[in-house]
């Protein structure tokens, strides 16, 4: 790792995140996955305490996206509502962050409505979030977290696309992921000019992707509600 990369990573807290994850992932996700394979089949869904179950098939993937959009919307809502918002950010930054808040709320509310229409009994509830590690009065903390969330969101949609069976849902995911990529590029530019691609592309300039388990392990740092992803399709 070169100096610049190290600084950038520290600035975002990304590498810290990932370290935490590997520890927490083992306890929270591995145990759930292993336990679920053995027990869930014989358990009534309402009777187990394995957390909020995302479910299976396309609805499971939609719930997964809904969970991430809940997280993003909650984050930006808190950013804009913070007392320091008007002083910590420039007018342009406030305008962009407010726009992004509204986009993420639109995504969240869209999934809520669409999943309810498609499978009302399968929709996950509102998640409890924990942003105690974020200093909402500090620009670097907010933008660093925003970048991590946006980059994560892009990799999440990219990595889950092939798991969808319905082309209409794939199109919807496509409509949203490019907006998340626009957000990611913008936030990156607000932090450092000409980092719109940054470390988010491979040697072919293809954006990275992550599996749902990889994504949830990272997001887990900010989500109090236990999420059970054991029934998601894996291809």
């Amino acid at each position: 790792m070169d100096q610049q990369t190290a600084v950038e990573k520290n600035g975002t807290g990304d590498s810290l995140l990932e370290k935490k994850i590997h520890r927490r992932k083992f306890f929270k996700f591995s145990s759930v996955a292993v336990a679920s394979a053995a027990f869930i089949a014989s358990c009534d869904k309402d009777d187990n305490n394995d957390g909020v179950n995302l479910g299976s098939g396309d609805v499971g993937i939609l719930n997964y996206a809904y969970a991430l959009e809940q997280l993003e919307a909650a984050f930006y809502t808190q950013v804009v509502a913070n007392a320091a918002f008007s002083t910590a950010f420039t007018a342009d930054e406030r305008s962009f962050l407010t726009d992004i808040r509204d986009h993420e709320i639109a995504h969240r509310e869209f999934f809520k409505t669409a999943i309810t229409a498609a499978a009302a009994s399968s929709i996950i509830p509102a998640l409890e979030v924990d942003f105690s590690t974020i200093n909402f009065a500090n620009k670097a903390s907010v933008l660093g977290t925003a970048m991590a969330f946006e980059d994560l969101g892009v990799t999440a949609y990219n990595g889950a696309g092939y798991l969808l069976k319905d082309a209409n849902y794939l199109l919807l995911a496509g409509k949203i992921v490019s907006v998340e990529a626009r957000h990611a590029a913008l936030i990156r530019e607000l932090i450092t000019a000409n980092t719109f691609l940054g470390d988010q592309v491979d040697t072919n300039s293809v954006n990275l992707s992550r599996t749902p388990l990889e994504v949830l392990a990272i997001a887990d740092t900010y989500i109090v509600t236990k999420i059970n992803a054991s029934n998601l399709p894996t291809g």
Binding site: N194, N204, S205, N207, S209
Partner: protein
């Protein structure tokens, strides 16, 4: 063509690729990563067969068609930035760095798609010998005015995002190809956001945002079609859900937010008609 490169790319989305190619995984990895030049040079001849065996069937013609379509557009985008970087009056410094970075990114897409298409057993479409970057006279100053250059760049990037989105459904369930296409799609969106932000910072269009507000927000009337189509960028109805009726931070979600929050697709026919004046199709 770099066979090692493509195998590594596939491995990222299909960890079992080496298993598919041979049950003796480690042996295969060692072979591809450290094999002799002669062995590697011999592979492309049988590559299509190798992948067909690995995945149990030939790559569907529909998948190849989408890849060729993507390559057709990437050829054009790369050449636009390559010529622009040489000819257009791009300010030295951060702006020139950004344009050259996008140029290099597009070239990587070209080379990647060529490799993937060849690996799938088909012959990659060739780049057109000549493009008309003025779009048959619509943008006569494309390489003499920085303002025009960035305006055309924005329109092309936004169109590129819409083009990939419009054909994702044809790659449904295709782990390797869909994931790669979505990965390029996201990078085109990052390019688009950057170009839009550059236009704002340069004062060319002081109010433009990195995302598409309403319909054609480019300030280029000739680009109405690039933001229109069967499902225009101004669409606020997503799968039967009217976004502007949903609760927002206060009241319902605004039309601006509803259109910015969702990018829209273009069909292949729509895209090919839009780029025809450039000599692409």
């Amino acid at each position: 063509m770099n066979i090692v490169n493509i195998l590594e790319e596939i491995e990222k989305v299909d960890g079992d690729i080496y298993e598919r190619l041979s049950p003796r995984r480690r042996a295969m990895q060692q072979f591809y990563k450290y094999g002799s030049k002669a062995a590697i040079a011999a592979i492309p001849l049988g590559l299509g067969t190798m992948f067909n065996k690995a995945y149990g069937q030939a790559v569907p013609a529909g998948v190849i068609a989408v890849l060729q379509y993507a390559l057709t557009l990437e050829h054009f985008e790369y050449r636009f930035y390559e010529r622009g970087s040489v000819l257009a009056p791009i300010p030295a410094g951060a702006d020139k760095t950004a344009i050259d970075a996008i140029r290099d990114s597009e070239l990587k897409h070209v080379n990647f798609l060529r490799t993937v298409i060849t690996a799938a057993g088909a012959t990659p479409v060739a780049e057109k010998a000549v493009y008309d970057f003025t779009a048959a006279g619509t943008f006569p100053t494309v390489f003499t005015s920085y303002t025009t250059f960035l305006a055309v760049a924005q329109v092309l990037e936004d169109t590129g995002v819409r083009a990939y989105k419009g054909r994702a459904g044809e790659l449904l369930g295709q782990k390797v190809y869909l994931t790669a296409a979505l990965g390029i799609h996201a990078v085109e969106a990052r390019h688009a956001a950057k170009i839009r932000y550059m236009r704002r910072l340069n004062g060319h269009v002081p109010t433009i945002k990195p995302y598409i507000t309403g319909g054609n927000d480019s300030g280029v009337p000739a680009a109405n079609g690039n933001y229109g189509g069967a499902i225009p960028e101004s669409n606020v109805n997503q799968a039967g859900v009217v976004i502007t009726t949903l609760p927002g931070a206060s009241g319902t979600i605004s039309v601006n937010a509803a259109t910015e929050a969702f990018d829209e697709p273009l069909t292949a026919a729509e895209v090919l008609a839009l780029v025809a004046p450039f000599g692409v199709s």
